[in-house]
Symmetry: C2
DNA sequence: GTGAATATGACATGAACATGGCATTGTCTA
DNA sequence: TAGACAATGCCATGTTCATGTCATATTCAC
């Protein structure tokens, strides 16, 4: 990392105009330098791995490997890479998949240059820049996705152990062996589990256990 | 909503100094007005419901009902309420629970006044203001919480429908009725599902379906 | 120290399931 | 157009499960 204070930026963008404009803009801005500008992830991966830029600007819709897959690949060899998605898409699915792949920020291409610079600084500083609408979307997605609080169950510790074994796919016999108890005892525990969960089969119990985070 | 352009803010904060300082600051700032400042959620709920402020600043650590529960309650009668958490806590658990409860933004109390004003504007405009570190944390939490990419399953559409029915706790007979096919056909589909998933029982299939997000 | 809850165990019976093989029909593709 | 795959269907056999009733020992609270 040369030139303390300069943020080294790599660009992956297939549109020639956009890419060249961005590269010039960054190189001509004090405090920033461009380590490379690439048309595709395939071209970008190796240079990015060796150069280790501070921030990577990544388009989503690229020929060949998508930007989202690119993020995943980059994160494989550098889990701390700071990647800022810069794209025209702001649908939930792309946002969701970008974040899951490991992107640290998400901006639209029409973002003004000064905001983009701030975002690059922010992502470099450990932030997660994104425009207001996208941030709110992430919150909504998060809320929807988040695990519901484990339901209050009246199951005893032992019953939860047995239920866990059911989730693991064990037969009664296997559960008996695993816990060193008689298969009749297993039956008994499972009877009680069924009563408490209001179910009538192994598969229902397993579904309920997993959906309600009982195990 | 009086005075077009003025953002009406309610405050819930138990610390007297903090609350009074905030209230004065907001009332003395052009474009903002304070509809009420409360020491507790219990006191705040009713006035907030009748006043319908544009933005609510909410502390987390309150005597009695916590700010997080407060958010939940407010969201019950006004799902579009814009609530900005303003707190000293920035641990994952509080952030996580605030977002799940329905908060739209999350700032620390030591946030400078001008940043706070911007955040109020932003949350009012549909954004989700939070400081850089918290934003990054939300992304991380999101990534950890989010559903892993559905595994490649090679199941046909029909098989996935049947598998869904298994997850719903159906017996073979119920599946046959639900899909208007013979129970023998159900057997056949399930045979194929077992082969493809490498399982040997309904409960194993259900567990695999839920764990690997096949349905 | 009595009662409630828990963990353990047994037995019996009918229902549901797992697995094998086999057949027909339609669709898609090399 | 032959082959692969999907969806539908039937039959048979053995296994596993669901559910009932009952019993004993332990623990913990009231």
């Amino acid at each position: 990392m040369p030139d303390n204070g300069t943020i080294r930026v790599a660009i992956v963008e297939d549109d020639d105009d956009m890419r060249i404009t961005l590269q010039r803009f960054i190189d001509n801005t004090s405090g920033f330098s461009c380590t490379g500008a690439f048309e595709s992830c395939e071209e970008a991966l190796s240079p990015i791995e060796s150069e280790g830029p501070d921030v990577i600007l990544m388009d989503i819709n690229l020929p060949g490997m998508s930007g989202i897959d690119g993020v995943r690949r980059i994160k494989l060899f550098d889990p701390h890479a700071n990647i800022l998605m810069l794209t025209v898409y702001q649908d939930d699915d792309n946002i969701f998949r970008s974040i899951c792949a490991g992107a640290s920020g998400y901006l639209l291409k029409r973002t003004p240059k000064d905001v983009l610079l701030n975002a690059i600084r922010e992502v470099h500083a450990g932030g997660a820049p994104m425009n207001a609408g996208i941030a709110r979307r992430v919150m909504e997605l998060f809320r929807k996705t988040a695990a519901p609080t484990p339901a209050e169950s009246s199951l005893t510790d032992r019953e939860i152990e047995i239920l866990q074994s059911l989730v693991d796919g064990c037969s009664y016999k296997m559960i008996a062996d695993r816990h060193n108890i008689s298969i009749e005892t297993v039956r008994n525990h499972i009877k009680h589990i069924y009563e408490k969960l209001h179910v009538h089969s192994k598969s229902e119990a397993v579904a309920k256990a997993l959906k309600e985070r009982l195990v």
